[in-house]
Amino acid sequence: MTPHIGDSYAERNARERARALLDPGEFREVLGPFARLRSPYLAAQGVTSQSDDGVVVARGTLGGARACVVATDGRFLGGAIGEIGGAKIAASLELARRDAERGTPTRVVLAFDSGGIRLQEANLGLLAIAEICDAVVALRAHQPVVAVIAGRVGVYGGISIVTALCNEVIVTEGARIGLNGPDVVETEAGADEFDAANRPLVWKVTGGRRRFAQGHATALVADDMPDIRAAVEDAFVRNGPFVAIERPEFPDPGLEREAFLRAYGITP
Protein backbone atom coordinates (compact mmCIF):
# COMPACT_ATOMS: atom_id res chain seq x y z
CA MET A 1 0.00 0.00 0.00
CA THR A 2 3.05 2.31 0.11
CA PRO A 3 2.48 4.91 -2.61
CA HIS A 4 5.05 4.77 -5.38
CA ILE A 5 6.82 8.07 -5.69
CA GLY A 6 5.60 9.88 -8.78
CA ASP A 7 2.42 7.86 -9.16
CA SER A 8 0.18 10.18 -7.23
CA TYR A 9 -3.30 10.93 -8.56
CA ALA A 10 -3.56 14.21 -6.69
CA GLU A 11 -0.38 15.57 -8.25
CA ARG A 12 -1.68 15.00 -11.80
CA ASN A 13 -3.73 17.65 -13.55
CA ALA A 14 -7.27 16.88 -14.68
CA ARG A 15 -6.26 15.74 -18.17
CA GLU A 16 -3.52 13.46 -16.84
CA ARG A 17 -5.91 12.03 -14.26
CA ALA A 18 -8.36 11.13 -17.02
CA ARG A 19 -5.55 9.61 -19.09
CA ALA A 20 -4.30 7.58 -16.15
CA LEU A 21 -7.77 6.28 -15.27
CA LEU A 22 -8.40 5.01 -18.82
CA ASP A 23 -6.67 1.94 -20.24
CA PRO A 24 -3.12 2.75 -21.45
CA GLY A 25 -3.01 4.24 -24.92
CA GLU A 26 -6.75 4.81 -24.98
CA PHE A 27 -7.46 8.51 -24.59
CA ARG A 28 -9.43 10.74 -26.88
CA GLU A 29 -10.59 14.09 -25.59
CA VAL A 30 -13.92 15.47 -26.78
CA LEU A 31 -14.20 19.27 -26.87
CA GLY A 32 -10.63 19.67 -25.69
CA PRO A 33 -8.70 22.93 -25.40
CA PHE A 34 -8.63 23.38 -29.18
CA ALA A 35 -12.41 23.69 -29.21
CA ARG A 36 -11.69 27.05 -27.58
CA LEU A 37 -14.79 27.03 -25.46
CA ARG A 38 -14.04 29.85 -23.05
CA SER A 39 -16.41 31.35 -20.56
CA PRO A 40 -17.37 34.87 -21.68
CA TYR A 41 -18.66 35.60 -18.17
CA LEU A 42 -15.21 35.32 -16.62
CA ALA A 43 -13.67 37.80 -19.06
CA ALA A 44 -16.54 40.22 -18.33
CA GLN A 45 -15.59 40.03 -14.65
CA GLY A 46 -11.86 40.42 -15.15
CA VAL A 47 -11.10 36.75 -14.44
CA THR A 48 -8.84 34.77 -16.79
CA SER A 49 -10.73 32.03 -18.63
CA GLN A 50 -9.39 28.67 -19.77
CA SER A 51 -9.90 27.09 -23.21
CA ASP A 52 -11.45 23.90 -21.79
CA ASP A 53 -13.43 25.75 -19.11
CA GLY A 54 -11.86 23.46 -16.53
CA VAL A 55 -13.64 20.23 -17.51
CA VAL A 56 -12.00 17.38 -19.45
CA VAL A 57 -14.21 14.82 -21.21
CA ALA A 58 -12.07 11.83 -22.24
CA ARG A 59 -13.25 8.78 -24.16
CA GLY A 60 -11.41 5.50 -24.17
CA THR A 61 -11.74 2.10 -22.56
CA LEU A 62 -11.70 1.00 -18.96
CA GLY A 63 -10.99 -2.65 -18.34
CA GLY A 64 -11.55 -3.06 -22.06
CA ALA A 65 -15.08 -1.60 -21.92
CA ARG A 66 -16.18 1.62 -23.63
CA ALA A 67 -15.71 4.45 -21.17
CA CYS A 68 -15.81 8.15 -20.53
CA VAL A 69 -13.92 9.96 -17.78
CA VAL A 70 -15.11 13.44 -16.87
CA ALA A 71 -12.45 15.26 -14.86
CA THR A 72 -12.79 18.72 -13.34
CA ASP A 73 -9.68 20.85 -13.02
CA GLY A 74 -9.29 21.87 -9.38
CA ARG A 75 -6.41 24.17 -10.32
CA PHE A 76 -8.69 26.40 -12.37
CA LEU A 77 -10.98 28.47 -10.13
CA GLY A 78 -11.21 25.60 -7.68
CA GLY A 79 -12.78 23.33 -10.28
CA ALA A 80 -16.02 25.26 -9.97
CA ILE A 81 -18.75 24.56 -12.51
CA GLY A 82 -19.93 27.16 -14.99
CA GLU A 83 -22.08 27.02 -18.10
CA ILE A 84 -19.63 25.26 -20.45
CA GLY A 85 -18.16 22.80 -17.97
CA GLY A 86 -21.61 22.03 -16.57
CA ALA A 87 -22.95 21.32 -20.04
CA LYS A 88 -20.00 18.99 -20.74
CA ILE A 89 -20.78 16.95 -17.61
CA ALA A 90 -24.54 16.83 -18.18
CA ALA A 91 -24.18 15.92 -21.85
CA SER A 92 -21.67 13.13 -21.13
CA LEU A 93 -24.03 11.55 -18.62
CA GLU A 94 -26.99 11.84 -21.00
CA LEU A 95 -25.01 10.38 -23.93
CA ALA A 96 -23.95 7.46 -21.72
CA ARG A 97 -27.59 6.85 -20.82
CA ARG A 98 -28.50 6.86 -24.51
CA ASP A 99 -25.68 4.36 -25.14
CA ALA A 100 -27.01 2.12 -22.35
CA GLU A 101 -30.51 2.23 -23.84
CA ARG A 102 -29.05 1.25 -27.23
CA GLY A 103 -27.26 -1.74 -25.74
CA THR A 104 -23.76 -0.26 -26.19
CA PRO A 105 -23.05 0.92 -22.65
CA THR A 106 -20.34 3.45 -21.84
CA ARG A 107 -18.83 3.37 -18.36
CA VAL A 108 -18.74 6.80 -16.74
CA VAL A 109 -16.23 7.90 -14.13
CA LEU A 110 -16.69 11.32 -12.58
CA ALA A 111 -13.23 12.46 -11.47
CA PHE A 112 -14.43 15.43 -9.46
CA ASP A 113 -12.28 18.04 -7.80
CA SER A 114 -14.58 21.01 -7.38
CA GLY A 115 -15.68 23.71 -5.01
CA GLY A 116 -19.18 23.55 -6.51
CA ILE A 117 -20.97 26.12 -8.60
CA ARG A 118 -18.79 28.85 -10.16
CA LEU A 119 -19.90 32.05 -8.49
CA GLN A 120 -19.06 34.16 -11.56
CA GLU A 121 -21.86 32.43 -13.49
CA ALA A 122 -23.93 31.30 -10.58
CA ASN A 123 -27.38 31.00 -12.15
CA LEU A 124 -26.05 29.01 -15.11
CA GLY A 125 -24.09 26.74 -12.79
CA LEU A 126 -27.18 26.14 -10.68
CA LEU A 127 -29.20 25.16 -13.76
CA ALA A 128 -26.41 22.82 -14.89
CA ILE A 129 -26.21 21.10 -11.50
CA ALA A 130 -29.96 20.35 -11.60
CA GLU A 131 -29.47 18.76 -15.04
CA ILE A 132 -26.45 16.77 -13.84
CA CYS A 133 -28.36 15.43 -10.81
CA ASP A 134 -31.24 14.30 -13.02
CA ALA A 135 -28.81 12.69 -15.48
CA VAL A 136 -26.93 10.77 -12.76
CA VAL A 137 -30.17 9.33 -11.40
CA ALA A 138 -31.27 8.36 -14.93
CA LEU A 139 -27.94 6.72 -15.81
CA ARG A 140 -27.83 4.94 -12.45
CA ALA A 141 -30.91 3.00 -13.49
CA HIS A 142 -28.76 1.27 -16.13
CA GLN A 143 -25.27 1.00 -14.65
CA PRO A 144 -23.08 2.14 -11.78
CA VAL A 145 -22.03 5.78 -11.80
CA VAL A 146 -18.60 6.02 -10.20
CA ALA A 147 -17.08 9.12 -8.60
CA VAL A 148 -13.37 9.45 -7.78
CA ILE A 149 -12.72 12.11 -5.14
CA ALA A 150 -8.97 12.17 -4.69
CA GLY A 151 -7.84 15.67 -5.62
CA ARG A 152 -6.61 18.63 -3.64
CA VAL A 153 -9.92 20.53 -3.60
CA GLY A 154 -12.37 17.74 -2.78
CA VAL A 155 -16.06 18.27 -3.52
CA TYR A 156 -18.34 20.94 -2.13
CA GLY A 157 -21.64 22.58 -2.98
CA GLY A 158 -23.62 21.24 -5.89
CA ILE A 159 -20.86 18.80 -6.81
CA SER A 160 -20.99 17.21 -3.35
CA ILE A 161 -24.71 16.61 -3.94
CA VAL A 162 -23.98 15.01 -7.34
CA THR A 163 -21.32 12.84 -5.67
CA ALA A 164 -23.82 11.61 -3.09
CA LEU A 165 -26.09 10.47 -5.95
CA CYS A 166 -23.39 8.17 -7.36
CA ASN A 167 -23.42 4.39 -6.71
CA GLU A 168 -19.73 4.26 -5.88
CA VAL A 169 -17.56 6.96 -4.35
CA ILE A 170 -13.82 6.28 -4.20
CA VAL A 171 -11.86 8.54 -1.85
CA THR A 172 -8.34 9.01 -0.59
CA GLU A 173 -7.38 10.24 2.85
CA GLY A 174 -6.57 13.66 1.40
CA ALA A 175 -10.04 14.04 -0.13
CA ARG A 176 -12.68 16.24 1.42
CA ILE A 177 -16.45 16.03 1.00
CA GLY A 178 -18.79 18.65 2.43
CA LEU A 179 -21.72 20.80 1.44
CA ASN A 180 -20.46 24.14 2.68
CA GLY A 181 -16.76 24.80 2.60
CA PRO A 182 -15.36 25.72 6.03
CA ASP A 183 -14.67 29.25 4.68
CA VAL A 184 -18.33 29.68 3.87
CA VAL A 185 -19.54 28.27 7.19
CA GLU A 186 -17.13 30.61 8.96
CA THR A 187 -18.41 33.63 7.00
CA GLU A 188 -22.06 32.73 7.60
CA ALA A 189 -21.83 31.49 11.17
CA GLY A 190 -18.53 32.71 12.61
CA ALA A 191 -15.20 31.10 13.48
CA ASP A 192 -16.69 29.81 16.74
CA GLU A 193 -18.86 27.54 14.61
CA PHE A 194 -16.21 26.34 12.16
CA ASP A 195 -12.69 27.77 12.13
CA ALA A 196 -11.59 27.35 8.52
CA ALA A 197 -7.94 27.89 9.51
CA ASN A 198 -8.06 24.78 11.72
CA ARG A 199 -6.95 22.35 9.01
CA PRO A 200 -6.85 19.23 11.22
CA LEU A 201 -10.47 19.89 12.22
CA VAL A 202 -11.49 20.34 8.57
CA TRP A 203 -10.14 16.86 7.76
CA LYS A 204 -11.59 15.31 10.92
CA VAL A 205 -15.03 16.55 9.87
CA THR A 206 -14.93 16.25 6.06
CA GLY A 207 -11.87 14.12 5.20
CA GLY A 208 -11.90 10.95 3.14
CA ARG A 209 -11.20 8.65 6.09
CA ARG A 210 -14.13 10.11 8.00
CA ARG A 211 -16.50 9.96 5.04
CA PHE A 212 -15.55 6.34 4.37
CA ALA A 213 -16.18 5.45 8.02
CA GLN A 214 -19.60 7.10 7.75
CA GLY A 215 -20.46 5.09 4.65
CA HIS A 216 -20.45 8.15 2.40
CA ALA A 217 -17.68 6.59 0.33
CA THR A 218 -17.55 2.99 -0.86
CA ALA A 219 -13.75 2.70 -1.06
CA LEU A 220 -10.84 4.35 0.74
CA VAL A 221 -7.59 3.97 -1.19
CA ALA A 222 -4.04 5.34 -1.14
CA ASP A 223 -3.17 8.26 -3.39
CA ASP A 224 -1.62 5.84 -5.83
CA MET A 225 -2.71 5.44 -9.42
CA PRO A 226 -2.75 1.59 -9.54
CA ASP A 227 -4.84 1.46 -6.33
CA ILE A 228 -7.32 4.01 -7.64
CA ARG A 229 -7.59 2.25 -11.01
CA ALA A 230 -8.18 -1.07 -9.26
CA ALA A 231 -10.92 0.48 -7.12
CA VAL A 232 -12.63 1.91 -10.21
CA GLU A 233 -12.42 -1.45 -11.96
CA ASP A 234 -13.85 -3.17 -8.85
CA ALA A 235 -16.74 -0.72 -8.76
CA PHE A 236 -17.84 -1.70 -12.27
CA VAL A 237 -17.29 -5.41 -11.68
CA ARG A 238 -19.30 -5.28 -8.45
CA ASN A 239 -22.09 -3.53 -10.39
CA GLY A 240 -23.96 -2.89 -7.15
CA PRO A 241 -27.32 -1.16 -6.95
CA PHE A 242 -27.64 2.38 -5.59
CA VAL A 243 -28.29 2.26 -1.86
CA ALA A 244 -31.04 4.77 -1.07
CA ILE A 245 -29.80 7.60 1.14
CA GLU A 246 -31.40 7.28 4.57
CA ARG A 247 -31.18 9.56 7.56
CA PRO A 248 -28.13 8.35 9.54
CA GLU A 249 -27.77 8.01 13.30
CA PHE A 250 -26.12 11.03 14.93
CA PRO A 251 -25.77 12.57 18.41
CA ASP A 252 -28.40 14.94 19.78
CA PRO A 253 -27.97 18.16 17.74
CA GLY A 254 -29.15 20.13 20.77
CA LEU A 255 -25.83 19.31 22.46
CA GLU A 256 -23.41 22.19 22.73
CA ARG A 257 -21.09 22.28 19.69
CA GLU A 258 -18.03 20.70 21.27
CA ALA A 259 -20.05 18.05 23.11
CA PHE A 260 -21.82 17.20 19.87
CA LEU A 261 -18.53 16.76 18.01
CA ARG A 262 -17.02 14.65 20.81
CA ALA A 263 -20.14 12.49 20.95
CA TYR A 264 -19.68 12.01 17.23
CA GLY A 265 -16.09 10.89 17.65
CA ILE A 266 -14.51 14.15 16.55
CA THR A 267 -11.99 15.88 18.86
CA PRO A 268 -12.28 19.57 18.07
Binding site: R28, V30, L37, Y41, A44, Q45, R59, E83, I84, G86, A87, K88, A91, L95, L119, Q120, E121, N123, L124, G125, L126, L127, A130, E131, C133, D134, A135, A138, G157, I161, V162, A164, L165, I177, G178, L179, N180, G181, D183, V184, V185, E188, A189, E193, F194, V205, T206, R211, A244, I245, E246, R247, P248, F250, D252, P253, G254, R257, L261, Y264
Partner: protein, 265 residues
Protein backbone atom coordinates in the same frame (compact mmCIF):
# COMPACT_ATOMS: atom_id res chain seq x y z
CA UNK B 1 -47.55 43.57 5.22
CA UNK B 2 -47.38 41.08 8.04
CA UNK B 3 -44.13 39.18 8.58
CA UNK B 4 -45.30 36.89 11.40
CA UNK B 5 -46.17 34.04 9.07
CA UNK B 6 -43.57 32.97 6.53
CA UNK B 7 -44.56 33.21 2.88
CA UNK B 8 -44.10 29.47 2.51
CA UNK B 9 -46.53 28.78 5.35
CA UNK B 10 -49.05 31.34 4.10
CA UNK B 11 -49.23 29.80 0.62
CA UNK B 12 -49.14 26.27 2.01
CA UNK B 13 -52.13 26.97 4.24
CA UNK B 14 -53.99 28.44 1.32
CA UNK B 15 -53.42 25.44 -0.94
CA UNK B 16 -53.77 22.84 1.82
CA UNK B 17 -57.08 24.19 3.10
CA UNK B 18 -59.65 21.44 2.90
CA UNK B 19 -57.00 18.75 2.51
CA UNK B 20 -55.39 16.31 4.91
CA UNK B 21 -52.21 17.25 6.74
CA UNK B 22 -49.69 14.41 6.70
CA UNK B 23 -47.98 13.95 10.05
CA UNK B 24 -44.70 12.42 11.15
CA UNK B 25 -42.63 15.27 9.75
CA UNK B 26 -40.49 17.79 11.63
CA UNK B 27 -42.20 21.09 12.52
CA UNK B 28 -40.24 22.77 9.74
CA UNK B 29 -41.64 20.54 6.98
CA UNK B 30 -45.30 21.02 6.10
CA UNK B 31 -46.94 18.25 4.07
CA UNK B 32 -50.55 17.99 3.00
CA UNK B 33 -52.61 16.10 0.46
CA UNK B 34 -55.20 18.44 -0.96
CA UNK B 35 -56.76 18.30 -4.40
CA UNK B 36 -56.31 21.13 -6.86
CA UNK B 37 -59.33 21.40 -9.10
CA UNK B 38 -60.00 17.69 -8.62
CA UNK B 39 -56.39 16.62 -9.18
CA UNK B 40 -54.74 14.92 -6.19
CA UNK B 41 -51.71 16.97 -5.11
CA UNK B 42 -49.15 16.55 -2.33
CA UNK B 43 -48.01 20.00 -1.13
CA UNK B 44 -44.60 20.32 0.49
CA UNK B 45 -43.18 23.44 2.17
CA UNK B 46 -40.17 24.16 4.38
CA UNK B 47 -40.86 26.82 7.00
CA UNK B 48 -39.07 28.45 9.96
CA UNK B 49 -39.38 26.48 13.19
CA UNK B 50 -37.84 28.18 16.24
CA UNK B 51 -38.06 24.89 18.15
CA UNK B 52 -36.07 22.90 15.55
CA UNK B 53 -33.39 20.77 17.20
CA UNK B 54 -30.54 22.00 14.98
CA UNK B 55 -29.53 25.50 16.13
CA UNK B 56 -28.46 26.55 12.63
CA UNK B 57 -31.70 25.49 10.95
CA UNK B 58 -34.44 27.41 12.74
CA UNK B 59 -35.18 30.16 10.24
CA UNK B 60 -36.41 28.17 7.28
CA UNK B 61 -33.02 26.86 6.16
CA UNK B 62 -32.77 23.47 4.54
CA UNK B 63 -30.94 21.40 7.13
CA UNK B 64 -30.59 17.72 7.94
CA UNK B 65 -34.13 17.25 9.30
CA UNK B 66 -35.69 19.41 6.58
CA UNK B 67 -33.98 17.70 3.65
CA UNK B 68 -34.63 14.17 4.92
CA UNK B 69 -38.17 15.28 5.76
CA UNK B 70 -38.78 16.56 2.23
CA UNK B 71 -37.28 13.33 0.85
CA UNK B 72 -39.69 11.27 2.97
CA UNK B 73 -42.67 13.41 1.92
CA UNK B 74 -41.81 12.97 -1.74
CA UNK B 75 -41.02 9.27 -1.50
CA UNK B 76 -44.34 8.79 0.27
CA UNK B 77 -46.42 10.59 -2.38
CA UNK B 78 -49.75 8.80 -2.81
CA UNK B 79 -50.21 6.92 -6.09
CA UNK B 80 -51.52 9.12 -8.93
CA UNK B 81 -50.80 12.26 -6.97
CA UNK B 82 -48.87 15.23 -8.31
CA UNK B 83 -46.37 17.11 -6.12
CA UNK B 84 -45.98 20.83 -5.60
CA UNK B 85 -42.90 22.25 -3.85
CA UNK B 86 -43.60 25.62 -2.26
CA UNK B 87 -40.21 27.29 -2.17
CA UNK B 88 -39.28 29.87 0.43
CA UNK B 89 -35.85 28.93 1.73
CA UNK B 90 -33.11 31.36 2.71
CA UNK B 91 -30.54 28.66 1.95
CA UNK B 92 -29.03 25.52 3.33
CA UNK B 93 -28.05 25.37 6.98
CA UNK B 94 -24.51 26.53 7.71
CA UNK B 95 -23.18 24.67 10.71
CA UNK B 96 -20.50 22.27 11.79
CA UNK B 97 -23.08 19.72 13.00
CA UNK B 98 -24.53 19.67 9.50
CA UNK B 99 -21.12 19.26 7.89
CA UNK B 100 -20.16 16.50 10.32
CA UNK B 101 -23.33 14.55 9.54
CA UNK B 102 -23.04 15.30 5.82
CA UNK B 103 -25.67 17.79 4.69
CA UNK B 104 -24.82 17.01 1.06
CA UNK B 105 -26.26 13.52 1.61
CA UNK B 106 -29.50 14.91 3.03
CA UNK B 107 -29.92 17.31 0.11
CA UNK B 108 -29.09 14.48 -2.31
CA UNK B 109 -31.80 12.32 -0.70
CA UNK B 110 -34.33 15.02 -1.45
CA UNK B 111 -33.05 15.60 -5.01
CA UNK B 112 -33.14 11.85 -5.60
CA UNK B 113 -36.70 11.58 -4.32
CA UNK B 114 -37.94 14.37 -6.61
CA UNK B 115 -36.14 12.96 -9.67
CA UNK B 116 -37.48 9.47 -9.07
CA UNK B 117 -41.02 10.71 -8.44
CA UNK B 118 -41.00 12.78 -11.63
CA UNK B 119 -39.39 10.05 -13.70
CA UNK B 120 -41.91 7.51 -12.44
CA UNK B 121 -44.81 9.68 -13.62
CA UNK B 122 -45.73 12.02 -10.76
CA UNK B 123 -45.97 15.53 -12.21
CA UNK B 124 -43.84 17.91 -10.13
CA UNK B 125 -44.27 21.68 -10.04
CA UNK B 126 -42.56 24.30 -7.90
CA UNK B 127 -43.83 27.69 -6.85
CA UNK B 128 -41.21 30.16 -5.61
CA UNK B 129 -42.93 32.48 -3.16
CA UNK B 130 -39.85 33.78 -1.35
CA UNK B 131 -36.17 33.00 -1.41
CA UNK B 132 -34.81 30.16 -3.50
CA UNK B 133 -31.21 29.88 -2.53
CA UNK B 134 -28.58 27.45 -3.67
CA UNK B 135 -28.61 24.00 -2.07
CA UNK B 136 -32.07 24.60 -0.64
CA UNK B 137 -33.48 25.29 -4.10
CA UNK B 138 -31.55 22.41 -5.69
CA UNK B 139 -33.08 20.04 -3.11
CA UNK B 140 -36.58 21.49 -3.13
CA UNK B 141 -37.83 23.02 -6.37
CA UNK B 142 -35.24 22.70 -9.09
CA UNK B 143 -36.16 19.14 -10.05
CA UNK B 144 -39.70 20.25 -10.89
CA UNK B 145 -40.77 20.02 -14.51
CA UNK B 146 -42.52 23.36 -14.19
CA UNK B 147 -41.42 26.31 -12.04
CA UNK B 148 -43.54 29.37 -11.33
CA UNK B 149 -42.55 32.33 -9.20
CA UNK B 150 -44.03 35.45 -7.69
CA UNK B 151 -42.82 38.54 -9.51
CA UNK B 152 -41.72 40.30 -6.36
CA UNK B 153 -38.53 41.90 -5.03
CA UNK B 154 -38.62 39.50 -2.07
CA UNK B 155 -38.20 36.60 -4.48
CA UNK B 156 -34.54 35.93 -4.71
CA UNK B 157 -32.53 33.22 -6.50
CA UNK B 158 -28.82 32.86 -5.91
CA UNK B 159 -26.04 30.54 -4.97
CA UNK B 160 -24.31 32.18 -2.03
CA UNK B 161 -24.78 35.21 0.22
CA UNK B 162 -22.95 38.35 -0.88
CA UNK B 163 -20.45 38.41 2.02
CA UNK B 164 -19.53 34.77 1.37
CA UNK B 165 -19.16 35.43 -2.38
CA UNK B 166 -16.88 38.36 -1.55
CA UNK B 167 -14.75 36.14 0.65
CA UNK B 168 -14.51 33.25 -1.80
CA UNK B 169 -13.84 35.42 -4.88
CA UNK B 170 -11.76 38.00 -2.97
CA UNK B 171 -13.83 40.80 -4.50
CA UNK B 172 -15.36 43.91 -2.94
CA UNK B 173 -19.11 43.83 -2.32
CA UNK B 174 -19.50 47.08 -4.28
CA UNK B 175 -17.87 45.41 -7.30
CA UNK B 176 -20.14 42.38 -6.93
CA UNK B 177 -23.24 44.57 -7.06
CA UNK B 178 -21.96 46.32 -10.19
CA UNK B 179 -21.16 43.01 -11.88
CA UNK B 180 -24.59 41.61 -11.01
CA UNK B 181 -26.15 44.52 -12.87
CA UNK B 182 -24.02 43.78 -15.93
CA UNK B 183 -23.91 39.97 -15.94
CA UNK B 184 -27.35 38.37 -15.41
CA UNK B 185 -25.69 35.03 -14.63
CA UNK B 186 -24.60 36.53 -11.32
CA UNK B 187 -27.77 38.51 -10.55
CA UNK B 188 -30.09 37.66 -7.69
CA UNK B 189 -33.50 38.83 -8.87
CA UNK B 190 -36.16 36.58 -10.35
CA UNK B 191 -36.33 38.46 -13.66
CA UNK B 192 -32.65 37.71 -14.29
CA UNK B 193 -33.19 34.05 -13.50
CA UNK B 194 -36.24 33.96 -15.76
CA UNK B 195 -34.10 35.24 -18.65
CA UNK B 196 -32.49 31.78 -18.82
CA UNK B 197 -35.78 30.04 -19.53
CA UNK B 198 -35.96 28.45 -16.11
CA UNK B 199 -39.19 30.11 -14.97
CA UNK B 200 -42.41 29.04 -16.66
CA UNK B 201 -44.70 31.69 -15.21
CA UNK B 202 -44.41 34.86 -13.16
CA UNK B 203 -47.32 36.06 -11.03
CA UNK B 204 -47.94 39.57 -9.83
CA UNK B 205 -49.17 39.60 -6.28
CA UNK B 206 -49.66 42.81 -4.30
CA UNK B 207 -48.94 41.22 -0.90
CA UNK B 208 -46.97 37.98 -1.27
CA UNK B 209 -47.96 37.00 2.26
CA UNK B 210 -51.66 37.46 1.69
CA UNK B 211 -52.73 37.00 -1.92
CA UNK B 212 -56.22 38.14 -2.85
CA UNK B 213 -58.73 35.54 -3.99
CA UNK B 214 -58.18 36.53 -7.63
CA UNK B 215 -54.38 36.37 -7.31
CA UNK B 216 -54.59 33.00 -5.61
CA UNK B 217 -56.98 31.72 -8.27
CA UNK B 218 -54.70 32.71 -11.11
CA UNK B 219 -51.71 30.93 -9.53
CA UNK B 220 -53.84 27.85 -8.78
CA UNK B 221 -55.13 27.77 -12.34
CA UNK B 222 -51.62 27.87 -13.81
CA UNK B 223 -50.38 25.19 -11.40
CA UNK B 224 -53.32 22.94 -12.18
CA UNK B 225 -52.77 23.30 -15.92
CA UNK B 226 -49.04 22.53 -15.60
CA UNK B 227 -49.73 19.41 -13.53
CA UNK B 228 -52.27 18.14 -16.08
CA UNK B 229 -50.60 18.99 -19.38
CA UNK B 230 -47.34 17.09 -18.90
CA UNK B 231 -45.24 20.15 -18.02
CA UNK B 232 -44.63 18.70 -14.58
CA UNK B 233 -42.91 15.69 -16.12
CA UNK B 234 -40.34 17.60 -18.17
CA UNK B 235 -36.64 16.99 -17.53
CA UNK B 236 -34.40 19.81 -16.27
CA UNK B 237 -32.42 19.53 -19.54
CA UNK B 238 -35.53 20.49 -21.50
CA UNK B 239 -35.21 24.03 -20.10
CA UNK B 240 -32.48 24.52 -22.69
CA UNK B 241 -35.15 24.43 -25.39
CA UNK B 242 -37.40 27.13 -23.94
CA UNK B 243 -37.55 30.21 -26.16
CA UNK B 244 -35.78 32.35 -23.56
CA UNK B 245 -32.87 29.90 -23.35
CA UNK B 246 -32.11 29.78 -27.07
CA UNK B 247 -29.94 32.89 -26.82
CA UNK B 248 -29.16 33.15 -23.13
CA UNK B 249 -27.92 29.55 -22.91
CA UNK B 250 -26.52 29.35 -26.43
CA UNK B 251 -23.15 28.16 -25.13
CA UNK B 252 -24.62 25.25 -23.20
CA UNK B 253 -26.67 24.29 -26.26
CA UNK B 254 -23.58 24.43 -28.47
CA UNK B 255 -21.51 22.34 -26.03
CA UNK B 256 -24.22 19.67 -25.90
CA UNK B 257 -24.48 19.56 -29.68
CA UNK B 258 -20.74 19.38 -30.29
CA UNK B 259 -20.17 16.84 -27.55
CA UNK B 260 -22.83 14.58 -29.08
CA UNK B 261 -21.15 14.92 -32.49
CA UNK B 262 -17.71 14.10 -31.15
CA UNK B 263 -18.81 11.44 -28.66
CA UNK B 264 -18.03 8.44 -30.86
CA UNK B 265 -15.16 10.10 -32.75
Amino acid sequence: MSEEVSRGRAWFERFAAGGARADGFPASVLVADAPLDGLPVRWVAVVPAPQARFPRARSGEMGIDEAFGVAAAVRGVPPNSAIVALVDAPGQAFGIREEAIGLQRALAASVDAYVQARRSGHPVAALIVGKAISGAFLAHGMQAGWIGALDDPGVDVHVMSEPAVARVTRMQRSDLARIASEVPATARDIASFARFGAIDALFEVADPQAPTDEEYASVARALGAALRDGSGLRLPGERLNRPAAIQTRALARRVRGELATGWDG
